[in-house]
């Protein structure tokens, strides 16, 4: 799987995920591919990090302590925000939503993934296509 190693050199990823084992697996797979990964396990800290440093991609869990992923998404995608956050936001969750709620979230995000449905490698393949 490492034939593409380092093709993504320098692309930065902020992983807002409170399940440590999951972020560990994702970090491993992403780092192998050349991504630079920063991990945050808390909603408020995650939002602050996303606002302070510009990341290429933000992996956003929905069930998070202190501030939910939906709220973070809304704040980051607020049209009134100056300057706008340019990061691509990919939702990674295992929470099942009603279709209309999910559609609402999908509209604001650049991807919506159910973590149980894909392996870390498949996540990396997905992110490689997020431009």
């Amino acid at each position: 799987m490492d034939t593409n190693t380092n093709t993504q050199t320098g692309r930065t990823v902020l992983c807002i995920e409170d399940e440590h084992f999951i972020s560990e697996l994702y970090t491993r797979a992403l780092t192998k591919e050349g991504y630079k990964v920063t991990n945050v396990a808390d909603g408020i800290k995650g939002l602050a990090e996303a606002e302070t440093n510009q990341y290429d991609i933000i992996l956003l869990d929905l069930m998070l302590p202190n501030l939910t992923g939906v709220e973070i998404l809304r704040k980051l995608r607020d049209p009134a925000r100056q300057p706008a956050i340019r990061s691509k936001i990919v939702i990674t969750t295992n929470l099942e939503q009603r279709d209309d709620v999910r559609a609402d979230i999908e509209k604001q995000a650049d991807g919506y993934l159910v973590k149980a449905e894909l392996t870390p490698h498949e996540l990396v393949e997905f992110l490689n296509k997020v431009k």
Partner: protein, 514 residues
């Protein structure tokens, strides 16, 4: 003495005076002609004939004028009051020589009548405008909305404002579909009814159960019954009335059941994510290591197959709950059937491989594009192949075939050569939690797969069928509708989105218009 009598006397007097004057002139002329001009008798006769003719004309002219003047004044009085006759001035009664009193009194009457009429219409108008302040409409504890012919909200009582979560004055003047994000349990949506009522009926009533008010960011979802009344000819443009009956508490019990399941699923998925992640790491490492016991590789492969199976089972639980609660919403899209079928077969190939089973897949080239909800039909294929693997027994082959039927539908069959299904079991096969008791001890499963598959295929407008012989195996088949045919249906219904009912919350289609 009444005014009519005065008019009559005046008229008589004037006419008598005119006739007398006429006669005096005639006699005077006669005398003058005889004495002074010495006219011949023929000259006298013709002269007096001319004079009397002039006199008669004068009498007719003056008389008719006398009679017409009061009538004219009345006409002018009426015209000056009519709403579109603003330019007609009121009559000048003082200059009337005849019937002044009668005309003055009648004009007075007319004015009085008109002011009464004006007052009545003013009262009516205020009543309409005061609907907002109307005690009953305002204080009825049911949310009430009134729409004009353009579906704009022209009245919303305080209960409605509170229920929708938007201030009443903010609701006024807004299009109802912009404010009320309603989702209906089936295709009989409010906007469809209203559209139909507008083209067909002068009045119509309808009611709906289990309508969902869309989730706004800060507002919890509401569930209610809706009653609507339509009246095309209402002069005050009160065309459509909506009354909402809240049942959030009652209906949301099912929702809570769903959220319990959603939570359970979430808790199952987290360890599954990790298992699949770690298995991938191990398979990677084992693949890179030259001197590994081949058994380890195959064990790891089996672990992956099991984890994948568990993932799809978790999805089954979720979707069965959705089917039961009418929440499985399908979005039918144009898809290449060979692509979907092949990728679904690939996903299952590992599970087949670890059991030594080979899947043969044959897809006819004539198969057109289908209108399906990709994830849902993948689950159907997944379930059917999963069953075929489970019930294959000692048989090692599964055949999948896809072709176009004579009826123009896409039929896909999954055939195994395993244990088969006893005839007494067949009728219950698609029932939830039903499993053949003889197999229960030997083969794991929940009896959810076929129930769910049937629901999904039904919702696609297809059919799921089975043919089986105990000991010889089973064939499950299902049909799907070509996309072109669905698109044609969609066009005829005027829908903007291919959202299928039977199992889903159907959004009020107006909301999809952008």
């Amino acid at each position: 003495m009444d005014y009519l009598e005065i008019l009559r006397r005046h008229l008589r007097l004037y006419l008598v005076v005119i006739i007398i004057l006429n006669n005096i002139v005639l006699v005077g002329l006669w005398a003058a002609g005889l004495e002074l001009a010495h006219l011949s008798p023929i000259g006298l006769v013709s002269c007096s004939l001319i004079i009397s003719a002039i006199g008669a004309l004068a009498i007719v002219y003056i008389g008719s004028n006398l009679i017409l003047k009061p009538i004219q004044a009345l006409r002018q009085a009426i015209l000056s009051l009519s709403p579109d006759g603003q330019r007609t001035p009121p009559p000048d009664i003082q200059n009337l020589k005849v019937g002044r009193e009668l005309v003055a009194s009648m004009v007075g009457q007319i004015n009085q009548l008109s002011s009464v009429a004006r007052q009545t219409s003013a009262v009516n108008e205020t009543q309409n405008h005061e609907l907002g302040r109307n005690f009953i409409a305002q204080n009825i504890p049911l949310p009430l909305l009134i729409l004009d012919p353009t579906e704009t909200i022209i009245f919303a009582n305080s209960a409605a404002a509170q229920y929708i979560g938007i201030a009443a004055d903010q609701l006024l003047g807004k299009n109802v579909y912009m404010v009320l994000d309603m989702a209906f349990p089936d295709q009989n949506t409010f906007d469809r009814w209203l559209k139909q009522a507008k083209t067909a009926n002068a009045t119509a009533t309808a009611s709906w159960e289990r309508v969902r008010l869309g989730v706004r960011d800060t507002h919890p979802a509401r569930l209610f019954d809706l009653a609507a009344y339509y009246n095309r000819d209402n002069p005050d443009k009160i065309e459509t009335m909506l009354v909402l009956f809240d049942h959030t508490k009652q209906y949301s019990q099912d929702e809570q059941a769903i959220s319990f399941i959603a939570l359970t699923v979430h808790e199952l998925r987290t360890p599954l994510t990790l298992l699949r992640g770690y298995i991938e790491v191990f398979e990677e490492e084992l693949g890179n290591s030259p001197n590994v016991d081949p058994d380890l590789k195959s064990f790891m492969q089996k672990m992956r197959a099991q984890a994948e199976q568990l993932t799809s089972f978790v999805n089954n639980i979720l979707n069965v709950a959705r089917v039961d609660d009418n929440q499985l919403e399908l979005h039918l899209e144009k898809e290449s059937w060979p692509n979907i079928l092949k990728s679904a077969v690939n996903a299952l190939s590992l599970q087949a491989k670890v059991r030594g089973i080979t899947i043969h897949c044959r897809i006819d080239t004539s198969v057109p594009e289908v209108g399906v909800d990709r994830l849902s039909v993948q689950e159907v294929i997944n379930n059917l192949i999963d069953n075929a693997i489970k019930y294959s027994g000692t048989s090692k082959v599964i055949n999948i075939d896809s072709h176009l039927t004579k009826e123009g539908l896409i039929e896909t069959t999954v055939q195994d050569f395993g244990v088969g299904i006893p005839s007494n079991v067949m009728q219950n096969l698609f029932t939830k939690f039903y499993r053949d008791h003889r197999n229960r001890a030997q083969i794991g499963g929940t009896g959810l797969g076929l129930y769910l598959s049937k629901a999904i295929i039904d919702a696609h407008g297809g059919t799921l069928w089975v043919r089986s012989r105990p000991g010889q195996g089973s064939t499950f088949g299902f049909t799907l509708v070509p996309y072109a045919k669905l698109a044609e249906e969609q066009k005829q219904n005027g829908d903007t989105d291919l959202t299928r009912s039977a199992h889903g919350w159907i959004k009020n289609h107006s909301l999809y218009r952008r």
